[in-house]
């Protein structure tokens, strides 16, 4: 079998795996939506409250992070014990992250569209911040997962990581709450800060995935 088809196989499993987890988000969201609807319709929630996009955003962040961790106990060992290369498993992880990030952005973006309470520019800043957080979290998640593969302190790191995700979303809430009533345009964010923020997120991701790669290189499947 050619090299290409083997990569596709590792990827295929990775994607299926990621989509399975992502669908949990949908299911939970659907349940919440149902609850709201049954409590008397959506009313102004869709147009006036940022609750839905926030909620989606927070779940996406948590899910993305959790997947980095569960990779360690499911995707990676299965992939390697069935004869996949460590390099390809790593590539598979990156694709999983990419797909999840893009889907998260689309999901939250779609939820933001009908919202009337903030300006379009605020929305794009929000999406940007969200994207950067996803990227950073992907990197941090890989870092933590990699470290816990090497040193096995899964429990401690997992809890620390979850706290981190919660804090992160709390920060987002605060950020938006502070700006919601002000008419801030994109221009008022110096482009320097924007570029800096993008760079920071990307660097965090690259660093995290690099550590992940190094750890994967010597990964052992233990009985």
């Amino acid at each position: 079998m050619s090299k290409k088809s083997r990569i596709n196989r590792t990827l295929k499993y990775g994607v299926i795996y990621a989509e399975k987890v992502f669908s949990i988000i949908f299911i939970i969201s659907a349940i919440y939506a149902l609850i709201y609807y049954l409590q008397g319709g959506f009313g102004d929630i869709i147009s006036d409250s940022l609750m839905i996009p926030f909620y989606m955003g927070e779940m996406c962040l948590i899910m993305l992070f959790i997947i980095q961790i569960t990779n360690k106990s499911r995707y990676i060992p299965l992939s390697i014990s069935f004869g996949s290369l460590r390099k390809e498993t790593f590539i598979g992880i990156q694709w999983i992250n990419l797909i999840l990030i893009v889907q998260s952005i689309i999901l939250v973006g779609v939820c933001l569209i009908p919202n009337q309470s903030i300006s379009g520019e605020m929305k794009s800043i929000g999406i940007l911040i969200f994207t950067l957080m996803l990227v950073a979290l992907g990197g941090i998640g890989q870092l933590i997962a990699a470290v816990s593969i090497k040193f096995g302190k899964l429990g401690g790191f997992l809890i620390g990581g979850l706290l981190f995700a919660l804090i992160t979303s709390a920060i987002v809430v605060l950020a938006f709450a502070g700006d919601i009533n002000t008419d801030i345009t994109i221009d008022s964010f110096p482009s320097n800060i924007k570029i800096l923020a993008i760079l920071v997120a990307v660097i965090i991701y690259i660093f995290g995935s690099y550590i992940n790669y190094r750890v994967l290189k010597n990964y052992e499947v233990r009985a």
């Binding site: 499911r74 299965l78 009985a223």
Partner: protein, 292 residues
């Protein structure tokens, strides 16, 4: 050269040396038995040969190509690990059919018909979660993956653990039928030595991380004898031979000898000479009190 070659394999965990200078050549198209005590290094060796575990030093090559991180060679290898409740290999939470579906995705020569057929023969319910299976059923899943992978070099770690005698016999027949039809190379590690002795063309004995011997099973057995009788007589006929499993009761003595090239048991004394089976040979090398 269609060979799987291990050269100078050393595996250390910290200061603990688990494999010590292992040199092994596995020829294509044979059924090998890998026998050794618990902790001798069987699983680690199989893990390293299949690149699921990096060696501390040394190389593993298949047809002169590195096995490590090499898709072409890894496509020819399948190491179906023992499934156990700890699930080190990632199967935790999966149902049998999910596990098999994923395996089907990864192994290039996967034979799904065979997998389905074996599930039926083993009377497994594909909807069962692997963690909830009994030890025997987990072994069955391991066997299914190994067989259906149709990999040229297939390794099984303790495939019969948990299986009752009827299923064990079924496994040996299944293994031989598949071997006869496909000529695949198998390496089977096992504790249950005597049953499997008939099935192995060659046997590899590993002890404390070192390979003690690798020989044709039948030839090895034909060189092993139990000599017993009056102590002086036994000593006389076994002069110069290496003795194992020495037992002394009163004036009587019993020893196991494994003849090497050109050695013979002397005649002319009233001693009993019994041929031995593989299990006795193994005990002679690795039994309690023996220096391996």
């Amino acid at each position: 050269m269609n060979n799987l070659v291990c050269k100078d394999i050393v595996k250390k965990y910290g200061k603990k040396e688990v494999l010590n200078n292992v040199n092994l050549t596995l020829e294509k198209g044979k059924i090998y038995g890998l026998i050794g005590r618990n902790g001798a290094g069987k699983t680690t060796l199989l893990s390293i040969i299949s690149a699921q575990n990096p060696a501390t030093s040394g190389t593993v090559t298949l047809d002169d190509q590195q096995v490590w991180e090499n898709q072409k060679t890894l496509d020819k290898i399948c190491f179906s690990r023992e499934l156990n409740p700890v699930m080190g290999n990632g199967a935790a939470g999966l149902k049998i059919k999910e596990y098999l579906k994923i395996a089907a995705m990864y192994f290039p020569n996967w034979d799904n018909e065979m997998a389905i057929n074996l599930v039926k023969e083993f009377e497994l319910n594909v909807k069962d979660r692997i963690v909830k299976l009994s030890k025997g059923m987990m072994s069955m899943v391991t066997i299914i993956v190994a067989m259906a992978s149709k990999a040229e070099y297939t390794f099984l770690d303790e495939p019969v653990s948990g299986l009752d005698v009827v299923m064990r016999e079924y496994f040996y027949k299944l293994l031989l039928a598949e071997y006869t039809e496909s000529g695949r190379t198998f390496v089977i590690s096992t504790h249950i030595i005597e049953e499997a002795a008939d099935v192995f063309e060659e046997v590899i004995i590993i002890s404390d991380g070192k390979i003690l011997l690798k020989e044709n099973t039948q030839e090895l057995i034909s060189k092993a004898f139990r000599v017993s009788g009056k102590a002086e007589d036994v000593d006389a006929v076994t002069l110069g031979l290496r003795l194992h499993q020495v037992e002394i009761t009163g004036r009587g003595k019993g020893v196991t000898v494994i003849l090497e090239e050109g050695q013979k048991i002397r005649g002319g004394f009233d001693v009993s000479i019994q041929p031995l089976n593989l299990q006795n040979v193994f005990l002679a090398f690795c039994g309690k009190g023996e220096k391996g």
